[in-house]
Symmetry: C2
Amino acid sequence: MAANQGERVRRRLSTGERREQLLSVGARLFSESPYDEVWIEQVAEIAGVSRGLLYHYFPTKRDFFAAVVERESERMLRMSAAVPGVPVREQLAAGLDTYLEHVRAHAHGYRAFHRADAAGDQAVRKVYQRALAAQERQILAALAADPEFGPRALERPELRLAVRGWLAFTTAVSLEWLRDAELSREQVRDLCARALLGVL
Amino acid sequence: MAANQGERVRRRLSTGERREQLLSVGARLFSESPYDEVWIEQVAEIAGVSRGLLYHYFPTKRDFFAAVVERESERMLRMSAAVPGVPVREQLAAGLDTYLEHVRAHAHGYRAFHRADAAGDQAVRKVYQRALAAQERQILAALAADPEFGPRALERPELRLAVRGWLAFTTAVSLEWLRDAELSREQVRDLCARALLGVL
DNA sequence: ACTTTACTTGACGCCGGTTCAACAGCGGGA
DNA sequence: TCCCGCTGTTGAACCGGCGTCAAGTAAAGT
């Protein structure tokens, strides 16, 4: 580990690059250890940079964590845009495929992101909740646009709760799938699809 | 706040009572704030004891948190014992009623407990995972005992994943319900029941 | 009253988060 | 080519909460 730490020539990156690099390291560490077991020092060391620099980019450790979460939340929202006009049943399979692909590609970030709910402070939670709410809205909108469910669906208060529950279902299954992929992506996809249709 | 702190006569409790009291205070605080925003000092102050006493009962802050989580996990397991011989569909409604009643009665502990997954270290996570696995086993066993699903069910690897996902569903819905109870317990119960039957 | 033991007090070391003044690499102007 | 200013970056010191410990205090049981 840390093979090229000591002798690496000091490189000066642009603020954008450095920020991105730090967030990547953060995502990895926060995905592997709970919040308070991640030391700023550790992040800096892996990034090949001093502790102080981190505080130049992020005011506090919490803000750093929040930035990691926010970055993942943006990536996630960008990825999961709904396709209008297509029946929910068809959109669902394709959407889940994209989603699960994203989960595999950004496993660290995904795990770190879903830590925000239980490990974050008010601000971090807010970012997390906003991302969840956005996904929720996308799904509800897709449901409302489908004749099978109809625009009336939005008025049922339990539907919101059902969608939120289903998101938790999908998240839990995805995380478990990351931990030990004994099932194929198609199986996981079908499982999640069945769960949503079953609950409606 | 802390109305009866200063002038309260020093009370001497049995180790069991004191331990219980500290765990209760911990459950409340850990349910309201993330792990690292809870100070040992704060716990002690609310309990009306000295910092030192906490370290007399629990070696470290982590152990304290772990004890809080473990206590809730025990309570939960004790509460959710399955009734053998009854069809799943009937058992489900009754079981969920008990569960949701427990959630309301021990809201703080319930919230604190579900923080273990993302905020705890390896040891705490282990306690959490053990509790989840136990619930999982109870459900799978109940399914296997029912002729509608049969003992073959246990062999389907996706079923375990489905049950785990459903637990996450129920947890998310319960937590949301605690935050803002716009739905009745019956509605939540039916929603969760439908989710399980739908996914199988 | 005497014993037991829950409990307090206060001082200390340690360690990780946070601050800040100084330093050093890189681009631009002469 | 040299110098200069901008800004990325450093290193060390500070702070506050965790965890330790030894010596004591006082509430219950007998």
